[in-house]
Subunit: 166 residues, 6 copies
């Protein structure tokens, strides 16, 4: 059997923690579809297209990783893509309960699809997209927490080149 997993998220922007989860997932799944949710209701820093480009650049060495954009219900998208598994990374206890409720809801909506949790690599436990955006907005040096292109794009957005980059 060929196993495909959907790795859904906002990826606003992709972090080294996300990259790490994809790489860990590839040890278990034959193919991973990184699926960016197009959600008009949620304000984002980067457009869906910018986010897609940043993920593609960060993961282009893996031939069995596809980057896609979806709208609507995740389980419907997973079914359409013939993927029986939703892949989620976990970093912290506070995230766990929300993930749990979400996984229960998705199972309720479609019994065929299950959720698999992988643990983020130790170094990435504190690298959430939002905490990185906050640090970058204040001029913090976020090299090493995100792929190089993301680091560059964040500096463009916030109009600051830190001394460490010169």
């Amino acid at each position: 059997m060929e196993r495909t997993a959907i790795y859904p998220g906002s990826f606003d922007p992709v972090t080294n923690g996300h990259v790490d989860i994809v790489e860990r997932g590839l040890k278990i799944f034959d193919k991973i579809i990184v699926a960016i949710l197009r959600n008009p209701a949620k304000e984002a820093l980067f457009t869906v297209e910018e986010r897609k480009e940043m993920i593609e650049t960060s993961l282009n060495k893996y031939s069995n990783v596809e980057i896609d954009v979806f709208e609507g219900l995740l389980v419907d998208y997973a079914k359409k893509r013939n993927a029986g598994t939703i892949l989620r990374g976990m970093r912290a206890v506070s995230e766990f309960e929300y993930e749990f409720q979400l996984a229960l809801m998705n199972r309720k909506l479609n019994r065929e699809i299950q959720t698999v949790f992988l643990m983020t690599g130790f170094r990435w436990i504190f690298t959430s997209s939002s905490i990185i955006k906050e640090a970058a907005s204040f001029g913090g040096n976020i090299n090493g927490m995100v792929p190089p292109l993301v680091s560059l794009k964040l500096k463009e957005k916030f109009g600051c080149i830190t001394s460490a980059d010169e």
Copy 2:
């Protein structure tokens, strides 16, 4: 003594989990007042009037349940209604701490009124109003998680009739 409990909330919209808490509460209290908070500061999907109608339809078989709308401080409303108890449902660990702080605050504001927690029925653990709205907005089939009228209203709001309903 006659015991009246206030069951406060946004109920935007009422779910089967809420209905379940009212039914459990009726085993302990003589009367339950479902009290919708009119909160201009918080954006809602349904108007207070729509929410009231949906709750009334869902609970109209119980003569000792009253649906009301209140503004201002919950403990003041409870006192005005001669209710010594605030009834709250609990589903998850993450909710517990907020409920705890709220109950402490309410006790501080009025020592006469206490908070009673009932556990949501097992099947309703994942049916929060917000997760149901999110699923419905993407066309998910939320029948069985909310009363029939709510299911209908949600589909009207989001302009989608799923195949399961035809």
Copy 3:
């Protein structure tokens, strides 16, 4: 309808937090049965008889409180006593999840019986039986955390009269 609630526990020994829960419960229930679990598998500091005496002394002003001892399944005992409700106090987040699992198990064993949670009074949040026993064993002054008789009995057990008592 007459409402009876079972308040089960080890009560090894009873604390002011337990007394507080009974007093709060009496605002909702017509009768409360404080039920000491006789559990040969669990080592205790006080015998069941000592524990019973200490609770009786602490709650003897309430005519609608009964102290009893039970063995076996809690829901069977509740049924035998015609009590539809199990009363539990909650102090902390860490307790919540265990209480939740226990309540689900009890509901599974007997659908007729439900669990009601009351919040311990603010001052009693840190007064667990075990933390009090530990403090008392090292000679800590635990007056004000337990009823007077319990304070006395703890000092007898640990063979220490602290300077504050002289």
Copy 4:
């Protein structure tokens, strides 16, 4: 690539929740080794041999499931069996943090082996081995929470045949 996962535990005794995790795991892995830890330091209700027999009976319809016993370090056992993945079920927030620490420790001990978490089926959230043993010891009817053979063995252990079985 062939993917083998180790599903380690005490299984004292196996529950329907464990069986559920194996069945979910089989959708992702080609082979699952249920590995009972022989731990002389931890007291158990059933012998390792009894536990092995109960698991075998419960899972004998799956040709790609193997039941084994191991001693020593889990990651060493996984390496010896050529299994790159440790499979764990999760039910509750309180378990999550311990699992997290364990997975970090195992990764530290052997970087090649990773841990995958699956969510227990909704119905099994409250069926821990210990809570089931406690209920059974008091004569509670635990049919439907454990495989039939386990139900029988538990009743033998605790010397009680409940009325529901006659």
Copy 5:
């Protein structure tokens, strides 16, 4: 060595819980700088200047407390002020994990600066700025939870003088 700690926050408005943390901190540090974050991205009830005035009035008896306003990265501000320590108060489990992630991020941004946690005084566990603002907005009596000037300013903001104050 002289030890200076930065106590950062929004202080919108300062509560008795904040005052308590400063007083506890003064037992450990020679100087405390209460640092209000000027954050244009976050909507506030009071202006930075109003917040500064309220803190100054509440803490003017301590000569070794300075009130300041900062923008940008906290660790950069701490370095500029020659403060090696960030002081944080903790009240609840739910806050802990966020604080943990924040402290890890700050350590990553500047290894020289560490975070010290003090526990809020027992009476202040439920006095968060946001819960107090909510209570005040509904006309709740929040005397005793905030310094007198803050109580006055909140009543001005929400245009209500409660009966208890007359």
Copy 6:
């Protein structure tokens, strides 16, 4: 003012995480007393004397660190030593609540003494004494998680020299 902090614990055995907390504490306090609790009620792997020797060897480069053994109530010991502060390290959410209750109890027993929490260094989050003992007992290589002498002593205890040490 001279500031002394007590760092209490079982230290059975000391880990690099403990050493890290002491080193962080020395940036804030003039003197740290590492205080081993002599607790006959709790079974330990190492004797108090062995534990003391291992800590002394690990921290002998710091002249302002003292290793001591105490019995009885921690706050009484702190008072006797003229230490106004109890120092605690924190690694995980699950520890936080217990620490919180303990700190409240200690404050109740002696209002003059407060608890200060430092966050364990990132690398030591998973190095609890108990998880290290478990790994060592199964022959796991725990070099780098504990001071060299502790590593040696653990191997002696469990009678195993791992291949990595030869």
